[in-house]
């Protein structure tokens, strides 16, 4: 019967066809032999795909991985984390400061103030070597001017309830001002100047210079229009000459200005706006010099110039308009965010973009005209594998070259002769944060006791297999800001009970802690998908229950956790992590002004001394002074324990042993060097020198 034969033959044939394909596929051993090109391709795996290949718009780590190879900033950090010039060859930081001439006041010598007298008075003091003017290079007089401005004012509450807003036209009479050029940024310049001028600056009333809306305008609004005194830190970058974009166009100062404008343009919705908002203007001085003027003192802003520079000639208004018309879109609303550039970027970095298959891979090819010399590897492939176990298996099968191991795998893989491994401290720390708006957590003794009850060393030893280090405060241990004299909280459950007893919490008949008949009970939250946080949560719950604290736990999905709980301050205690910046600025995370909904001081930490320090730290451009203040701040935060600071994780990366660095001697003979990690554990600092050899060329090290 034919039907019967078909029924038997069909599955047999199909199965045979499928299975025979095995013989055509290279095994791990043959892989390199059959395809020599494989050695010139470096394959990196990632859990997630990139979303937008534009450094000014990307907010995810996968996009940043690619952007950092295709684009380059003006500066970056060298192996010791100090700033190093890239597209900028060198730079200077100085300050321009302004002060209004207020002719209603008198000088210390009793004469009424005029612009000339004030200038002469200060020049005389400078010539006499007055310490207040030590840094001043030059004092100039700027004439006053008048202009008309539209401002929005709030009209006091009406019967209808909501305060109304309306636009008011005012005339601003900008008075003559003195401009001081300082050789260094000095946040105390006006304090010193004020004492020289007997409080002159404090007495200036800016409302005097605004005409037309006196009854409704506040002093602060007036000060925003006519600041009595103003610090303008300046960064002067001298750019590298002859650097080419990957399409052959030369990079110049216009591209720097353009990148700044692209970030600040509201239609682009750039997530980098907060980093660049303190910039007042970016002024090209010729092709190879750029002057960055800041509105106010903001030291962390300098590091933001590591941002990749966009090519103006490919993204300017005309190009976008042409692109919009070609695609039939409205040219008025077509922004950089819409441009096809974001999926086929061109920068000045060592690798040029070649191909992107969404959720599969991104292919980069080396840029032969890279200013620092062409990379050795021909291709960089960024492969997306969403599942960790699968990613591990591709590493064993030789179809990826690097693997970021999880702590529990370290013991098994660390000594494998096939791999080289790099284990270094990272920048992210894990903490338990307490909501200090809740009465139970207002007492520092309670927060301290909760921290003392947790055996952090045990978590590090057993949960993280020693792939983490204890931390005591909010700064990276690799930087000078970290205060090594601060001791971690001891593990001491007995001491914790004593502290709680001091705070009024005592054990009741059932063994639960209570105060005035109320039990010590709260909920500990964390987000879904982070195994380490989950483990910390279980350990903490266990430890606290042992003290007699009723702890409930809840794991929530990220978006809900952030939007519904963290942003609204609706939680008792939570486990989270911060990835620390390399700058000393903690304003957003710990300043008491940042406690509102949707702000980052969601635990509600407030300490006047810490507040003052945080402001001074972000305004301080002198490294030594900044370090000193940061260490003091670290100490205060550690004393107050708004968080229980737990640990900083280490990153373990495994590489195929066949990957090494290769540099050529002047006579052209190759010389092989081991790959080394920098202070942050980044191994790709010398990525351009990497090669893959068919056999390991260096002895195990």
């Amino acid at each position: 019967m034919r039907v019967k034969q078909i029924l038997i033959l069909a599955p047999t044939l199909v199965s045979l066809f499928l299975l025979q394909s095995y013989f055509w596929v290279p095994t791990f051993e043959e892989q390199v032999k059959g395809d020599p090109g494989r050695l010139t391709r470096y394959i990196q795996t990632s859990i997630g795909d990139a979303s937008i290949l534009n450094p000014t718009l990307a907010a995810d780590s996968a996009s940043s991985d690619i952007n950092s190879l295709v684009f380059e900033g003006l500066i970056d950090r060298n192996r010791d984390l100090a700033f190093r010039g890239r597209l900028a060859e060198s730079w200077e930081i100085f300050e321009e400061a302004y002060m209004v001439v207020d002719d209603t006041q008198r000088l210390p010598d009793g004469n009424p103030v005029t612009a000339d007298r004030l200038l002469r008075h200060l020049e005389k003091a400078r010539a006499a070597g007055d310490p207040a003017l030590r840094l001043v290079q030059k004092i100039e007089l700027l004439p006053g001017q008048s202009k008309i401005e539209q401002i929005e004012v709030a009209i006091p509450r009406q019967e209808s309830g909501k305060p109304k807003k309306r636009m008011v036209e005012v005339t601003v009479h900008l008075p003559p001002r003195l401009k001081f050029t300082l050789s260094e940024v000095d946040q105390d310049f006006f304090v010193k100047l004020n004492s020289l001028l007997r409080g002159y600056g404090n007495r200036i009333d800016p409302s005097r210079f605004i005409e037309g809306a006196e009854p409704v305008i506040t002093r602060e609004r007036a000060a925003a229009l006519v600041p009595p005194t103003e610090h303008n830190p300046i960064v002067l970058f001298r750019l590298r000459k002859g650097v080419l974009f990957q399409d052959g166009h030369e990079f110049d100062s216009g591209d720097v200005k353009f990148t700044y404008q692209a970030i600040m343009a509201p239609e682009n919705l750039s997530p980098r706006v907060p980093d660049f908002e303190p910039v007042k203007a970016v002024e090209p001085l010729g092709r190879y010099t750029v002057k960055i003027i800041y509105k106010r003192l903001f030291e962390p802003g300098f590091g933001s110039w590591g941002m990749g520079i966009l090519p103006e000639h490919l993204l300017n208004r005309e190009r976008l308009k042409a692109e919009a018309i070609r695609l039939g879109r409205d040219p008025k609303t077509y922004s950089i965010r819409d441009s096809a550039f974001n999926r086929a970027p061109i920068g000045t970095g060592p690798f040029r973009f070649a191909e992107w298959k969404t959720d599969q891979f991104i292919r980069l090819r080396r840029f032969r005209d890279y200013w620092e010399g062409s990379p050795n590897l021909r291709e960089y492939l960024y492969r997306v594998i969403p599942d960790l176990l699968t990613a591990e298996l591709t590493f064993y099968a030789g179809t990826s070259d690097a693997y970021g191991a999880q702590p529990h795998q370290v013991e098994r893989l660390k000594h494998d002769p096939r791999f080289q491994n790099f284990s270094r401290l990272g920048l992210g720390y894990t903490y338990i944060g307490y909501n200090m708006r809740r009465p139970i957590f207002q007492d520092v003794r309670v927060r301290k006791a909760l921290g003392m009850a947790i055996n952090v060393q045990e978590i590090i030893d057993y949960v993280l297999y020693r792939q983490a280090e204890r931390t005591t405060g909010p700064y990276p241990k690799q930087t000078e800001f970290y205060n090594p004299t601060v001791r971690p909280l001891p593990y001491d459950p007995e001491g914790a009970l004593r502290l709680l007893a001091e705070a009024g919490w005592t054990r009741n008949a059932e063994g639960w802690l209570e105060k005035d008949g109320k039990p010590l009970a709260f909920t500990l939250l964390t987000n879904l998908g982070n195994e380490v946080r989950k483990a910390v949560m279980v350990v903490a719950q266990n430890a606290w229950r042992r003290l007699g604290i009723k702890v409930e736990t809840l794991i929530m999905e990220w978006a809900v956790f952030i939007n519904e709980r963290v942003d609204k301050g609706d939680f008792d205690a939570l486990i989270l992590g911060w990835s620390m910046g390399l700058d000393a600025d903690l304003y957003q995370i710990f300043h008491s002004s940042q406690m509102g909904h949707f702000q980052l001081n969601f635990v509600g930490y407030s300490n006047p001394e810490a507040d003052a320090l945080m402001i001074r730290i972000r305004q301080e451009y002198n490294r030594a002074r900044q370090v000193e203040m940061a260490r003091r701040l670290h100490q205060i935060v550690a004393q107050d324990q708004p968080y229980t600071f737990l640990f900083v994780g280490k990153g373990l990366t495994l590489l195929d042993r066949k990957l090494v660095r290769m540099i050529r001697d002047p006579d052209g003979t190759p010389q092989y060097l081991p790959i080394v990690a920098d202070k942050l554990g980044r191994i790709n600092f010398h990525f351009n020198q990497w090669v893959k050899t068919s056999e390991p060329v260096l002895a195990a090290y």
Binding site: L389, Q409, V463, L528, G529, V538, V539, E557
Partner: protein
């Protein structure tokens, strides 16, 4: 109504199910499946008794970091673990997990939670299925009107609804809804229930369509018994066989779906342990602690297989066309 029930022809009430039962007992794989299901019930109830409460007999939440990743049948280390934390049994029957929790206790707890998920989800699905199937079967030809307009019959509406639900890839739909609602044990049960009633509804509808024309229903109708009462008291009890079949298979489906959701990170969240989330947590340690996947994986396999075989046996036993041999 009692008189009416008694006046039913006896073949209709008793014999089909008894014949089916006898037939079912002859199918040894199905009986084995049923027995396994019974064992699972007992284990789940034991799990509830032994692992719930503030100080349970076997504590699935006890963390002993020093004793993590102990393979099955290993002894605890009394030096490193405080005496009050040692397992009651004195041995880790099924080993410990990455936090040193007793896998045996966790599996017991998980048995109860997994069964609960299956039961509630199926309960919801069956309730919806019976209601809609019953309406479609009994009132099938009645038209629904808006004002004067007679739009469509109940049967068309419900058949349409079934079509709509069958059109969605159910796992993806469940994933979507669980993800947007946030994964909690109740959400998962409700969502699985709300998306898997179509089978029951179709079976019930077909069964009631067949029964509706029978004499005892016609008689009840002639006596003026209201429709809902006829459906509830006379039709549903006679259509229970297909409901039972789809409920049994539904539990298997719910347990598996929960495991799949756990794998994608949208399963029943801790602290509730289910076999699904024990399995998917264990997969991170496949190379380092294989028992963390082998044990829950095998347990799910056995239980789901048991429900499937049981359900399939029932299906065959209740299908008169297949019974004659």
């Amino acid at each position: 109504m009692a008189t009416l029930t008694e006046s039913r022809p006896s073949e209709v009430t008793v014999s089909p199910s008894r014949i089916a039962w006898r037939f079912f007992l002859r199918n040894r794989t199905a009986v084995a499946g049923m027995l396994a299901c019974v064992v699972f019930f007992v284990v789940a109830v034991l799990g509830l008794v032994l692992t719930k409460g503030e100080s349970p007999v076997l504590n699935p939440r006890q963390v002993r970091l020093a004793d993590k990743f102990k393979p099955p049948l290993s002894l605890p280390n009394p030096q490193a673990v405080p005496a009050e934390d040692l397992p009651r049994l004195g041995i880790y029957l099924l080993g410990t997990d990455d936090l040193g929790r007793d896998v045996f206790a966790r599996m017991l707890e998980g048995a109860y939670v997994s069964l609960l998920v299956g039961f509630v989800a199926v309960g919801i699905a069956v309730a919806i299925g019976i209601t809609l199937g019953g309406i479609a079967g009994y009132y099938g030809r009645v038209r629904i009107g808006v004002g004067r307009l007679r739009l469509m019959t109940w049967d068309t509406l419900i058949a349409g609804l079934i079509d709509v639900f069958l059109s969605f890839p159910s796992f993806f739909l469940i994933l979507t809804v669980v993800a947007v609602l946030k994964p909690s044990i109740w959400n998962i049960m409700v969502v699985i229930g709300f998306t898997s009633w179509t089978g029951t509804a179709r079976f019930v509808r077909a069964e009631i369509l067949a029964l509706r024309e029978q004499d005892f229903v016609q008689a009840a109708h002639a006596l003026g018994v209201p429709g809902p009462q006829i459906i509830l008291r006379h039709l549903i009890p006679n259509a229970i066989a297909p409901v039972l079949v789809s409920a049994t298979l539904g539990i298997a489906y719910a347990i598996l779906t929960e495991a799949g959701l756990s794998f994608l990170g949208f399963g029943v969240p801790p602290p509730d342990a289910t076999w699904g989330n024990i399995l998917s947590d264990g997969k991170n340690f496949l190379f380092d602690a294989s028992w963390l996947t082998v044990i829950p994986g095998t347990a799910i396999l056995i239980v789901v297989l048991a429900f499937n075989l049981f359900g399939e046996g029932l299906r065959e036993a209740f299908n008169p066309k297949l019974r004659q041999l």
